[in-house]
């Protein structure tokens, strides 16, 4: 339904996206990438706000640039936190419905329904200027769904949402996907994306690094040694115990600090074995993994 063929777009001398080719079909697809990876540029290309400098973008077979036919079938929740601040949430969503071509009564009905769906019914008559970030996100989502589009693009939609809001949002996404809609969600948080979908597009520095099932990418990552940093007041004693474990590949002490770093190919087994150490009286003050972030995912993918 959405097809990008060798698409590149640059802002002056800065590349937004570089030679991206992909096809996105119904269901939830996550566009994953760090800040500056080109996610918003890709969203803007698909929503026809900008044109590809090279290559072609097709949405349901049409060129989306300034194309009202495409906008009838597409809802967009932008990443920018901008509104007509003097309007109320309900007025804003109703205006968006009117601009989608609905009559005043129909626009009002749809606005009420969409506002209710995003859990803003009790706060929709307050001015947008007084809304929290989470409330603004919900209103943006409501306006994106107002005309029941076949395609919904959500640019960093979970920003500012509280845990309850995130859970509701993810449920809503699944419900929309079950209705057969194509949903493209961008995010820079791997953990967030894993809860939404397994289908991903991985962008890094404007290039599409991987597409497909997130589990496959996870497995690819797991083939590489996983680093874990352990804070302890007895780093040498702990290191002596850890080297005995067959799934620990290396142990290194941090110079002058009360911490050590290990490498393992079986992080789950490692974490599962940690309580044994505590039972033996070894003190562990903190655990962290430098590899549990998107940067390391990209590093693995590039190396792979």
């Amino acid at each position: 339904m959405i097809k990008l063929q060798s698409v590149s777009h640059w802002y002056g001398q800065v590349i937004g996206v570089n030679d991206v080719t992909c096809t996105i079909g119904p269901g939830v697809t996550a566009l994953l990438g760090m800040n500056g990876a080109g996610k918003t540029t890709m969203m803007r290309l698909i929503t026809g706000q900008i044109r590809a400098n090279t290559g072609s973008v097709r949405v349901l077979g049409h060129d989306p640039f300034a194309n009202p036919e495409v906008y009838r079938l597409l809802g967009y929740c932008p990443d920018v936190d901008a509104f007509y601040e003097t309007m109320t949430g309900r007025e804003f969503v109703t205006l968006m419905a009117r601009l989608a071509g609905f009559s005043a009564p129909e626009a009002k009905r749809r606005a009420d329904e969409a506002i209710d769906r995003v859990g803003m019914a009790d706060r929709a008559d307050r001015r947008l200027a007084g809304y929290s970030k989470g409330m603004r996100q919900r209103i943006k989502l409501a306006q994106a769904m107002i005309h029941d589009p076949r395609i919904i693009l959500l640019d960093e939609p979970l920003n500012g949402l509280d845990p309850g809001g995130r859970r509701e949002f993810i449920l809503l996404l699944r419900h929309l996907a079950d209705e057969g809609k194509l949903i493209l969600v961008s995010s820079h948080i791997l953990f967030e994306v894993e809860q939404m979908t397994r289908s991903i597009l991985l962008l890094h520095r404007g290039r599409l690094r991987a597409t497909g099932d997130l589990r496959v990418i996870r497995e690819l990552i797991d083939r590489h040694p996983h680093r874990i940093r352990i804070e302890t007041p007895h780093p040498r004693a702990l290191a002596a115990r850890l080297v005995e474990w067959p799934f620990v590949l290396s142990v290194s002490l941090e110079a002058g600090g009360e911490a050590l770093e290990i490498q393992t190919r079986e992080p789950d087994r490692f974490y599962g074995s940690l309580p044994e150490l505590v039972e033996q009286g070894l003190v562990i003050l903190g655990l962290s993994s430098p590899d549990n972030n998107l940067e390391s995912v990209f590093r693995y993918l590039v190396e792979a």
Partner: protein, 256 residues
């Protein structure tokens, strides 16, 4: 229907309380200046007093208002990053642009008309003034459309266009009437003065003549003024809609 929704939305935005208050203060300033000047021109015929005040005040405020509102048609939406909501709706870009430009024109005309009425009140509303006021209202209507169309094109072509438009409004339009030769053909105000009320060629007061742009020649006939302004409006609107429909408008820092 969508055009009407866009028009009313833009109108509501342009008529926000703070904006209205600012323009009420401008009109109050015009009123004060009008009363003071009218007092100083006591010997002149009321129609001439009105025509001079009109060219010094009303037709100076008109391009100022047009510069402010025409550049807000697209520029304000880009600046406040709300343009994304308008551009991703099933609305043709020409409809979007023309609806908002129409709202800007109405507001500019309303400001111009308020100034004209204030000036007419300062001139005393005596015989002949009402006729001149009627003529000026017609000139203000076409002038609003001409300035908005012109400044709209500038705002579509340039970033931070308001500075350029204000320089044009205060610099070129103000001084060209006093320039020698045929340069007056290059100012909208010259054509508007051919349609609107005309002050007597000289008042005997060089400063007053300078302020009202009466030092140069203006041989433009009303017929020619209508033709030129009509062509200017059509060309600017056609070019502007074409440009807007084919170019990218994304929030500024994201585009840089």
């Amino acid at each position: 229907m969508i055009a009407r929704v866009l028009f009313l939305h833009a109108l509501r935005d342009f008529l926000r309380f703070r904006r209205v208050l600012a323009w009420v203060l401008v009109i109050a300033g015009v009123a004060v200046a009008g009363w003071v000047w009218a007092g100083l021109m006591g010997e002149m015929a009321p129609t001439d007093v009105y025509a001079r005040l009109s060219s010094i005040l009303t037709f100076r405020v008109l391009p100022l208002a047009a510069a402010v509102f025409a550049t807000a048609v697209v520029g304000q939406e880009v600046e406040q990053k709300t343009i994304v909501y308008l551009l991703t709706r099933p609305v043709g870009r020409p409809t979007l642009l023309l609806s908002r430009a129409a709202a800007a024109t109405v507001v500019v005309f309303a400001i111009g008309a308020a100034c004209a009425l204030t000036v007419a009140a300062a001139a005393g509303f005596r015989s002949g003034v009402a006729g001149s006021l009627g003529q000026d209202l017609v000139a203000l209507a076409v002038g609003s459309l001409a300035y908005v169309s012109l400044f709209l094109v500038v705002s579509l072509l340039l970033n931070r266009a308001m500075v350029v438009c204000l320089l044009y409004a205060f610099g070129w339009e103000t001084s060209v009437g006093n320039m020698p030769g045929d340069l007056y053909h290059l100012a909208v105000s010259s054509y508007l003065s051919a349609i609107g009320s005309k002050p007597a060629p000289t008042s005997g007061n060089p400063m007053l003549d300078l302020l009202s742009g009466q030092l140069g020649l203006n041989l433009i006939t009303p017929q020619r003024a209508w033709t030129v302004l009509g062509v200017l409006i059509v060309v600017c609107l056609v070019f502007g809609t074409r440009w807007f429909a084919t170019h990218e408008y994304v929030p500024r820092e994201d585009a840089e």
